[in-house]
């Protein structure tokens, strides 16, 4: 039931959310989260690397965990890889449910696990130089809430 995609090209979050909501009309609530490349701090570009044998299978497994935990009508998980510029969408999670609290919980859980548990490696380019970004302690703390 979940729509899980690992994308190498830019996507249109508004169109994705509109299509998702239209496909789940029995759901009274749709919660979505969009992560985009932050502008500022001199960041010129961001790159997300993945590992073919594990990244998408891990995302599908995460979707299964979300669906077994909340009663959802639909779940959407899109994640970019490749080089992105400030303002580009990186990740879109949307959950459709009869009751909004389930949709909020599902999207929140999925994001915390995408941040700290999925097989992505991030680097940023500032001043023409690439630098790998290490996970933050906050990301682990967020995941530990569940």
């Amino acid at each position: 039931m979940a729509d899980v995609r690992l994308l190498g090209e830019p996507f249109d979050p508004a169109a994705e959310i509109a299509a998702f909501a239209a496909a789940h009309r029995v759901a009274g609530g749709v919660v979505s989260f969009l992560g985009q490349v932050r502008e500022g701090d001199g960041v010129e570009a961001l790159e997300l690397r993945h590992y073919g044998p594990m990244t998408l299978p891990g995302m599908v497994q995460l979707a299964g965990a979300v669906e077994s935990r909340w009663p959802l009508d639909g779940l959407l998980i899109l994640h970019r890889h490749g080089v992105m510029e400030p303002g580009d969408p990186i990740v879109l999670v949307a959950a459709a449910a009869r009751h909004r609290r389930d949709a909020f919980g599902a999207a929140d859980f999925a994001m915390d696990h995408l941040k700290s548990d999925s097989w992505f490696w991030k680097r940023e380019r500032t001043g023409g130089r690439w630098r790998w970004v290490e996970p933050r302690a906050q990301d682990y703390a967020d995941r530990a809430r569940w």
């Binding site: 992560g35 590992y51 044998p53 594990m54 994640h79 990186i90 941040k115 490696w121 790998w132 290490e134």
Partner: protein, 79 residues
Amino acid sequence: MAAKLVFLGRLEDRAGMPELAVAPGPLDQVLATLDPALAVELLGERVRLALNGQLLAESGAVILDDGDELAFLPPVSGG
């Protein structure tokens, strides 16, 4: 045939390549053929290992066969 080592994230920069074909055999013997500084990084406690796409609980007893792919996975940072 050979086995393959795959270096993810910052480990690719350390290795200077995304992957490396190696002769099959016990992992410690395979690593002994690498630059010692790289081998130390690959065995760091925050680096996890996956054999043919499956995460390993223990790296100690890994023996690479022909066609095996062993990935070195540093801490992730997605989203």
